[in-house]
């Protein structure tokens, strides 16, 4: 026993002995309020669940449970203790080549966790939640293993459901937190995991009552590779053009090395068919994604690039994603882009497009 262990034991015992244990057996038996709620806080769903179960014991539990579910449709009915046998949700969102990792279950604010293997340059996860009614809220989280990055353990979340993560907050030495739309991602870096991992990913949904930690403009994008003729120019800025269903798309990328971003290699503005991009783009280095939204159109460059030329090469993968396409691919109306309208018929210089 080392000195520090002895001091730690003494410390823990001292702290534990100072805890004033209050007997709450009657409350547990009655299934009513938690100790801190006696002071006036509203009863939590524990009480609702217990009441439902008790009523059920009298023969009308099913009705009570149904009512309880309707009262709080977003809350799981029964909080499972962490189950050790993860299963895979039905998911048609990913192309066949993407590895689907086991889904870890969770409820409430915590949707599960998964350690990203350190040997994988990027890892794609499906993280989801399940309650008595089946699977809900599955997210595809792509993590980049970046040992040289400035994250404590080199792990980065780079997109959620194909949406590029654009900002991050840093918490102390152990926690990174990102939000995309209303989906929050926590990466609890843990270099000591066994096997080694770059991070334990925790997916949370930011509640309606709790504002997002950071303001992030959601980028509802797809990343479908588009076949078709593509041409490029490099003056004055790299420009890519391709064709999507007979509609020509011109994408002008402006590199902005001075952009204030957590990610390297920023490309901070874009024109799509002459429409100034409204949302800045982020290029997160090799194996990541660049996404833009210009006017009411959405474009994504699925990039594996570290230079401008490579990024432009990736513009071969440009396409517009409208709501119908999004729904067909992702089926998640929460992140759907706005209705697509016809693009401008000509560029500012008069060049006809489309």
């Amino acid at each position: 026993m080392t000195d520090i262990e002895t001091r730690l034991i003494d410390h823990l015992r001292e702290r534990a002995s100072a805890v004033a244990v209050r007997d709450g057996f009657d409350d547990v038996l009655a299934g009513t309020f938690t100790p801190s709620q006696r002071a006036g806080a509203p009863p939590r769903r524990t009480a609702v669940r217990f009441a439902a179960a008790s009523v059920g014991a009298l023969g009308i539990g099913a009705i009570a449970l149904f009512v309880a579910r309707d009262v709080s449709p977003t809350e799981p009915i029964d909080r499972p203790i962490v189950e050790t046998a993860p299963t895979e949700p039905p998911n048609a969102m990913l192309p066949p080549s993407v590895t689907i990792f086991p889904v870890l279950e969770g409820v409430g604010e915590s949707y599960g966790s998964y350690a990203v293997p350190a040997h994988a340059p990027t890892t794609r996860l499906i993280v989801g939640t399940r309650d008595a009614r089946g699977w809900r809220d599955t997210f595809t989280v792509t993590a980049l293993n970046d040992p040289e990055g400035d994250a404590p353990a080199g792990g980065r979340i780079i997109d959620v459901d194909g949406v590029a993560v654009t900002r991050a907050n840093y918490f102390g030495s152990v926690l990174w937190f990102w939000t995309v739309g209303d989906v929050g991602i926590q990466v609890q870096t843990d270099v000591d995991s066994d096997p080694p991992a770059v991070g334990d990913i925790l997916v949370t949904r930011v509640s309606d009552t709790e504002p997002p930690l950071v303001e992030v403009e959601p980028l509802p994008l797809g990343h479908v590779v588009l076949a078709g003729p593509t041409s490029f120019t490099d003056l004055p800025f790299p420009t890519a053009a391709t064709t999507d269903g007979g509609r020509e798309i011109r994408v002008e990328v402006r590199q902005d090395d001075l952009a204030n971003s957590l990610l390297p290699g920023d490309y901070d503005s874009v024109d799509i068919n002459g429409v100034e991009g409204l949302v800045s783009a982020r290029l997160a280095g090799t194996g990541t994604m660049v996404a833009w939204r210009a006017g009411d159109q959405t474009v994504v460059l699925s990039a594996a690039a570290s230079t401008t030329a490579e990024a432009i090469e990736m513009a071969r993968r440009v396409r517009l994603v409208d709501r119908t396409t999004w729904d067909a691919i992702y089926g998640d109306p929460r992140l759907a882009p706005p209705e697509l309208v016809e693009p401008a018929s000509s560029l500012p210089d008069g060049t006809s497009v489309g």
Partner: protein
Amino acid sequence: MARALTTAEQESFAAFYALEHASQVRRAALLLGSDNAAHDVVHDAMVEVLLRWTTLELPGGYLNRAVLNGCRDAARRLAVRQRAPNRLAFVGSPGGEPEVLDDVLAELPFNHRAAVVLRYFHGLSTAEIAAALGCAPGSVGVWIDRALKRMREALT
């Protein structure tokens, strides 16, 4: 669906509660740094146990996992709410070394903190800690070593 407990079942649950409640609250308080939060977590876990009292084969093990999971969830909620790493804010802390140890514990990832508490407060073995936390036994020793190293650094 739960059924009403018989008198004998209620008495057996009462004995279980009397045996487990205080130690679970103290453990949860060490993990969360809050007496109230600890009471809430243990209360919820006890309710879950009670609802399954007639079907659980190992209610003690179930309670342990339920409390640990409840603490994990509570710690996350606190972290999100506070937008900063938790500080185990024991009321009336006199400062000095105890407070430093509290800070180090608070900065640890939950599993590391739980491993330390289970080892040095409850005296569990590595295998028992791994089983309680649902992790590989190899992780436990590393977590504890890392925590002790941080404490040494903080106290020197």
